[in-house]
Symmetry: C2
Subunit: 571 residues, 2 copies
């Protein structure tokens, strides 16, 4: 076992070394150490200046052109960084750094199909999954676009047949429940979008997520569905993810127990030729995913496409893709100074590496976005929670921050006490001009509920920035707490695509500055390996109740004994 493991990793290592060399030749990498970069050094010095009292936000925003100078409009999104702790000089230096690190060039390498995921020797082509242009994108000299288009057509055809009741369950009833079985990147994106576009879900199909291997997740889903009218979508690239397989097995036996034929109720989204591909098993249909799209970047592929098209209709899923494509094109083509995700990324680097903030909150003043933060938390923290550069060097600088968030105004009544008077953390406020529900216009205190929401959305960034003096120290607000405000026209499918692609591009731009690989996730491997060892111990005990867990770590043994005894022992 160990030898096999060792060999697998040696092969990986060699491949990686090769990829690295190729990639170096392509000039898509940055070998210079961050602290040797002149702009980086100047930024370190400038950070001290920005800490001085005259650079307090309450002074900076006195400039009546502040908003004009520190905001951007692109891809139908307005990005306002006027309440960030930056001045012109600071932005100039950040752009100098962005140029030195060739951010736009690296982004182009990515969208062109270069193997920017060097440790795994893969391309990273989530942008291709929403491309509607006629252009080819080559990976290993093969144009990937025809396959991508085919998958989209398959989804469209399948979803419409389900909606037209041409495809039904094994008892002939039309489907009205969808359960997505998938974890991490296989469901967080869909969960965000299906919640965000709930108001558009008019196909009579309810969606549920079975992500956690925890039996409670299954129990709750099982209590909400009608098995006869349920489609299960099993999503796993390799079709070996432990949690997903355990849940899929349970779901299959659950359906069989009820006399329902799994072949009429299960759909898979997986790699061509994986054990879950339709050619290998008896399932209703399978849709392909590709090794050049990682889980956390996959909501615009079949991973999001199949469930979202069932719930919202394929047309709305396509509108969502087109919004994302619009932002991709902006990120690719807009000049440095006008590039929303690039500027946002440089602000992220500034707050993190120069101002020393270790966190970032996302606070949408739009309830439908209530699962945006968990999705971006995964996207960003799994992409940028790294310590090693593309060159294999240990970075001296901090990389990804801790990202969290809840919708406003809820967050105001939760952790905003700390945001105002405790440890400061940067915030992205997000708002939309037009709500999805326009029919409720009842007024309180002279304003509608949506206007009340907006009063808060406008007030909070300002309160955080300017603060307030007070003789009573308990009522004093130090202010100078940075935030950006992101404004959308509406909460349409297109806007969801734009905001998604904005955060995706921001994430990879930050990675490019640090010179890390935002597409691998070796950090999850150790826990998996150890869990596998524990699982074997449990399986042995299941087989032979006399198995005693001797020889394993005493702490682990304690927990295994507790699990099997069914009760805590008093110490």
């Amino acid at each position: 076992m160990l030898v096999k493991y060792w060999m697998k990793y040696t092969v990986f290592y060699l491949k990686q070394y090769h990829a690295q060399k190729v990639f170096n030749n392509e000039d898509c990498m940055n070998s210079q150490k961050l602290h040797d970069i002149f702009a980086w050094q100047k930024l370190l010095r400038h950070a001290k200046i920005m800490d001085s009292p005259e650079k307090h936000l309450r002074n900076l925003i006195k400039d009546k052109d502040r908003l004009e100078k520190f905001s951007l409009y692109g891809a139908d999104i307005f990005y306002d960084f006027s309440r960030q702790r930056v001045d012109e000089k600071c932005m100039d230096l950040l752009f100098e750094l962005a140029e030195t690190r060739q951010l736009k060039h690296r982004f182009k390498c990515m969208t062109d199909g270069e193997k920017v995921n060097i440790t795994e020797n893969r391309a990273a082509l989530h942008t291709a999954s929403r491309s509607f242009s006629d252009e080819s994108v080559f990976v290993d000299n093969i144009d990937v676009m025809p396959e991508i288009r085919k998958v989209r057509d398959d989804i469209k055809e399948f979803a419409s047949k389900v909606h037209e009741k041409k495809i039904t369950g094994s008892t002939g009833k039309p489907f009205n429940h969808v359960v997505v079985i998938g974890i991490g990147g296989s469901y967080l994106g869909s969960e965000f979008v299906s919640n965000a576009l709930y108001a558009y879900a008019d196909k009579g199909i309810q969606i549920h997520y079975l992500s956690n291997v925890d039996i409670h997740n299954f129990g709750r889903v099982a209590s909400c569905i009608d098995p006869e009218t349920t489609i299960w979508i099993v999503i796993s690239k390799s079709y070996t993810t432990a949690e997903t397989m355990a849940n899929a097995n349970l779901a299959v036996s659950f359906m069989k127990d009820r006399g329902l034929d799994p072949a009429k109720h299960f759909v898979t989204v997986t790699s061509k030729g994986s054990p879950g591909d339709s050619s290998c098993g008896s399932i209703l249909r399978s849709f392909h995913m590709f090794d050049f799209i990682g889980g956390r970047y996959s909501v615009t592929s079949a991973v999001g496409g199949v469930p979202l098209s069932l719930v919202l209709g394929y047309d709305r899923f396509e509108r969502f893709l087109k919004g994302a494509e619009e932002m991709d094109n902006h990120a690719k083509s807009a000049p440095l100074h006008e590039n929303l995700p690039l500027v946002a990324a440089m602000i992220g680097i500034w707050n993190n590496n120069f101002m020393g903030y270790q966190h970032q909150a996302i606070i949408p003043y739009a309830s439908p976005l209530h699962r945006l933060a968990p999705h971006i938390q995964q996207l960003y923290m799994e992409s940028n929670g790294k310590s090693v550069t593309d060159d294999g060097d240990i970075l001296d600088e901090h990389t990804g921050v801790i990202l969290f968030g809840e919708p406003g105004t809820n967050a105001q009544h939760s952790f905003f006490q700390l945001a105002h008077q405790g440890r400061a953390f940067p915030i992205d406020f997000i708002g939309a001009i037009r709500p999805q529900y326009e029919q409720y216009d009842c007024k309180s205190k002279g304003v509608t509920n949506y206007q009340e929401l907006w009063a808060n959305f406008i007030a909070q960034p300002m309160a955080l920035a300017v603060g307030k003096k007070d003789k009573d120290r308990a009522k004093r607000f130090s202010g100078n707490r940075p935030s950006s405000t992101i404004l959308l026209n509406d909460l349409s499918p297109e806007s969801m695509g734009r905001i998604l692609a904005f955060y995706e591009a921001k994430t990879v731009f930050e990675a490019f500055v640090w010179g890390i690989n935002p597409f691998d996730q070796f950090g999850v491997e150790l826990g998996k390996t150890m869990a596998s060892g524990i699982r074997n111990e449990i399986a042995k005990k299941n087989e032979k109740s006399s198995h005693s867990f001797e020889g394993i770590n005493p702490i682990a043994k304690f927990y295994l004994d507790a699990l099997f005894s069914g009760k805590l022992k008093q110490k």
Copy 2:
């Protein structure tokens, strides 16, 4: 207006000064500065020692008695801090600090009804709300227990009448939807518990939360309920909370539009004599809350009691209270060294003020606890996001950390990449020996799904602690990442009460170390005041469309113009 505001605050200030003096006399306060405390200084020195390689967790846990020495059992909870970066010396110093800061004495002051909320001159008696002892608790020489018992009896009677269909809606149909209208502490606790005990919700009543003033929250709730069979519970102590009032107004007009009599469908939880008290309006029933229980500590009062008793039955709500009471008694009576929430608080202080961690994650390996982290996020960050001591001094030390979390294994597939290979943050892992659903025992790889969950629950803290060497730096794990493991016997109502009271006690113990007031929240006031100014502007514009927002801050003006124009202007 300004004068009124100023006067109100001056009166407050004077009251506060008085309260402070009284409280000083009572010897319940700590006036000594933290950095002048000998134990604090020794801890600062000891932190350097704990940073040395021989104190790496992979070495510390080699001690075969590590778990025995660094774990506790109490109130039917097991608390394991063997994977925290502490040694015996460190714990001794932390206990010395706890003694110096009189934590247990202050906790007793709190449960005895002293006015520990000195800035507001109030007691903090959430513990009384779940007391079933015969003892009196006096505030201003009045025993508060009879009122508390009466509210519990009222809830019991009301809930059983609803379940017996003796109380019905205005068209005579029995109730099967409950909508809680309340924000922050008025719903987060109920939301946590109603989700945690979903498997027990057998009364045929679905619960929904209308917290956000965002119209999308209302729109979504409205699309899920049957108005004829819906009870709305409006929760607000003062009955003036802007969001809650706006939502309540909308709900009333929504019911009237459908020909339903609000007096048969609305219940309030509010202070005696508030505008929402039944004596003041035509509502079905009202239940009282008290000024000595703050929102974030109120789930064991009528705030949680009314909705939870409707959904789960009063008996289960009482079992939940009794679990909380058990933990309160433990926190009050267990010696320092055996006191779970106190030790957990000291570990919190250690990680924050001495090891420099700015975050804390809560990762329950139990899906029903998926809203525990948002609730504790509010409880903890609103309580401890302060910078001023009870004496009115600005603290030099950091107070509350950023708290966040998602259930495992989901979190493993989300942000655990960063937890293992990025910026380290302490984690509370929470598990339960027995699941709520025991009927699913289908096995994958020789283990049930619940055992698979446990394999991960056992593996993750160990992987984080020990790390792994690897020639390939991208696959190297530095380890030494601290965590605690909290083990419950089950996910019963009692266990939920225990874990809730554990975090409440931990929160106030940390506050007592810093000498801050965990019961006020002046930090939310500035945003409210500013929102009120913006609201007035919007109301003026609603009234007179020629109102032009001149004279207000140009950034705010930009957003107001955008809202009213209905569209972003291209720059």
